[in-house]
Symmetry: C2
Subunit: 268 residues, 2 copies
């Protein structure tokens, strides 16, 4: 990971002079995550810019940003499920659906979606999820439910919720001897990951990932190529589209869980 | 891992009939760990027997058993340090020294030994350990001491103590982005591994291992070959040798920490 740009990103200013390039009524507007989109023109550090295939439709591939790359990369770059294997996905929001898409593209045979909201299950089928567990439907820990479904545990799990309890379940639901659990969700500051260490002794692996282990500048063009080659399906992530003037509608759709990704059109 | 033999090992009886092959005064003596050594003849399940190079000196290669293979394999099979990298070893008992030997054989440049007993440091130099930290000498967590020594953390760490606090330190002392921590020690039943999950988010990996990930039957002959080819040094692990009649002396040497490995000679 690039310490230089991460620090700059946190600061919200440009690296060269520590200043912002935006202002309103004389007050600075800070840069968000090094890209500062939602403007027609922007100023980015060169490390935040990647050149992609010019034939790629920008109104589609713009969703190949933080959330989708994080989930997709967590599966294809970190969990790396083998063809025919079993994968549990914790959380079926946009990141979890992208993780499921990664499992589908990898050829996983069983993709088990875990979510507290069963309304998400139908949509998740489009992303390859073919079995579903709602922890609320069971009176034992979800890791035990999954262990019973899979004769001891799944080959891989990907946690996309940010809930520390889901992180523990995701680790404890993988199979002894070869299971790999990948933590994607951003935890709260006060959370503690607790598990009995004998779970490690039994040859399990726990990995974390940031941005799906993609290096944006060098790796994003390849993700766009996967879309152009029809391996990675992007359109199904885009459930809504609104003009910029209605951007608050997009926030409502996101916060109410109705949208997976809503495109903001700068011009209508 | 082989469920079949592990269950049998725990039972202390043969798999075929659930009975023991040893007795004294009519009372059964149960099989220990599937091998039941300390007898001139023994009965083992075929899965517990490996054929090694007949030229190998048995009074040396007998130490290539649980402890040494566990530590050595934890480094060479699981942590896999690259040439020139940095490795922290937690616990400089026999397992930790074997882990250090694995780091030495792998070509690690910095091998940092961590132990609460500074008397172990001199001996550890023979196993390639070239820097030492006694947590008692510092008034901050050992992971912070190591992070300062190594500009952010070691490339690999191997925990060989069984202390859950050492496990947490071993995980927290590896570098963000690529660090791998391997847990070898057998924890207590009530221990809980606790860490802030953001440590995973920063692309660290935590792995457990059992018996250094060696499959005894298929892999042990290759470890013996490493000794025969003078890659893996075995003699330095053998600090004492006693005849069978003085076996209790060997236990004293072990419990007092004076021996690394003491050979029990069945005939003198």
């Amino acid at each position: 990971m690039c310490d230089l740009l991460r620090i700059n990103t946190d600061r919200g200013t440009m690296l060269s002079d520590g200043k912002s390039r935006f202002s309103k009524d004389g007050k600075p507007i800070y840069h968000f995550l090094g890209t500062s989109t939602f403007s027609e023109y922007t100023v980015c550090h060169v490390g935040s810019v990647a050149k992609i295939n010019p034939a790629a439709p920008l109104e589609k591939v713009c969703v190949l940003s933080c959330g989708i790359c994080t989930g997709f990369g967590a599966t294809v770059n970190v969990a790396k499920p083998k063809k025919g294997s079993s994968v549990a996905i914790f959380g079926l929001g946009a990141v979890g659906l992208a993780a499921a898409e990664g499992a589908r593209v990898s050829g996983a045979a069983r993709i088990i979606g875990v979510d507290l909201n069963s309304n998400r299950f139908e949509e998740a089928k489009k992303f390859g999820v073919n079995e579903f567990v709602n922890p609320k439907d069971h009176n034992k820990p979800v890791q035990e439910v999954i262990a019973e479904m899979t004769d001891g545990g799944v080959d891989r799990s990907v946690e996309c919720t940010g809930s520390v309890q889901a992180m523990i379940s995701a680790f404890e639901c993988v199979h002894d001897g070869w299971g790999v659990a990948v933590l994607v969700g951003v935890p709260s500051k006060d959370d503690a990951f607790k598990t009995h260490p004998v779970n490690f002794l039994n040859e399990r692996t726990l990995k974390g990932t940031f941005y799906g282990n993609y290096k944006p500048r060098s790796d994003l063009p390849g993700v766009v190529e996967m879309y152009m080659n029809k391996e990675l399906e992007v359109d199904k992530f885009i459930t809504h589209s609104v003009p910029f003037a209605e951007i608050n509608k997009a926030f409502d759709l996101m916060l109410s869980g109705q949208s997976i990704r809503c495109i903001i059109r700068m011009e209508d």
